[in-house]
Symmetry: C2
């Protein structure tokens, strides 16, 4: 195996270190977060850091990079109180990735990438048409991570839309049935296939 | 599509809600966290919430459930200062899942699951033999998420071991080359295959 020491990590050229460290923690969730500002201007951004925080109350979180530059998704959800989380299907990976280009706030990533906004709830929050799992979240809180000025943003899950064929009778969603992808680093998109689903693990004698 | 409202989510039977919400946020990273206590007793636990926090300094985080019951991994890393993060390969999914059974602190999940501990650095931290990516982390901090008493634990990446065939010349790790799996909910394990790796996205005219 290749071995990198702490000295290696700090001495790497920036780009090499970014590629390595971004891909180092394993597969990530592949989500598009949709918001709009108070004037109705929509915004759509790819995120690979959405995590499960709890089931009751139903909460999720994601990591926001330092707010030293404008973060339109974050300011929108703080101002309107809501955002959508949309799973990325295999047929939308290139458009999803292109939402990461830096557009000014007056430009909607929906228009630039060809993804279609759709309004499905009473809140003024755009969802992504065709996304296999669409979640309405209420913005709840954020925690500053003082080690590098990133933030953990917390959202409450309020409404859920899922493709019928993904939903098992016991509530479990089988993600590969919706062609949901996983992200490798910041820029690799992988298709997936369930190997096995295990029962709740109990101690062995 | 199936539509669940906020009322549906709060009225579901506990097990149904847990399965649904746990699988709702998309694919998760599949990692085994290895620690030992000050007496040398090893501990190994599966986590599906490891996220990238930053590249310089190289930081990762993971979500810890409420500490209302003993969390051996957490107390060990606070006491010794270190933990290992090991990617789960296709050949170890059942053993990895079985680390989630509730064993007392005096029992090592290594012994019960058949996974082999291996010591690779100066720190007294067990890694998982055969894991395609092995990371030594220094425990840095934790943030209490007051909405549900979970915690975001922050670790600094200090040493890295990766299978040669996963490493691209620019530093990017191609996870499927190491047969790294992704987790669907708490208990589904999926194999993966890279579809495409896209360049840094730039605005379109």
């Amino acid at each position: 195996m290749r071995h990198f020491t702490a000295d290696d990590l700090s001495n790497f050229e920036t780009r090499y270190r970014n590629y390595l460290i971004n891909s180092l923690s394993g597969y990530k969730s592949a989500n598009l977060i949709g918001t709009q500002n108070v004037s109705g201007q929509t915004n759509l951004a790819v995120f690979n850091s959405v995590v499960h925080l709890g089931s009751n109350p139903a909460l999720l979180g994601f990591i926001l990079r330092p707010t030293t530059v404008p973060r339109h998704s974050f300011s929108n959800m703080q101002n309107t109180g809501y955002f959508s989380v949309n799973h990325i299907g295999q047929d939308m990976i290139e458009a999803a990735h292109n939402t990461s280009a830096k557009y000014p706030e007056t430009v909607s990533e929906f228009e630039k990438t060809g993804l279609q906004p759709v309004y499905k709830t009473d809140q003024k929050v755009p969802f992504v048409e065709g996304s296999p799992v669409q979640i309405l979240c209420r913005y709840v809180n954020n925690y500053l991570i003082e080690e590098n000025n990133t933030r953990l943003v917390v959202g409450a899950i309020e409404e859920v839309f899922v493709q019928e064929e993904m939903l098992h009778p016991d509530g479990w969603l089988q993600l590969d049935k919706g062609n949901v992808v996983a992200i490798n680093g910041l820029e690799g998109y992988a298709k997936t296939a369930l190997i096995d689903r295990f029962p709740y693990a109990r101690p062995k004698e």
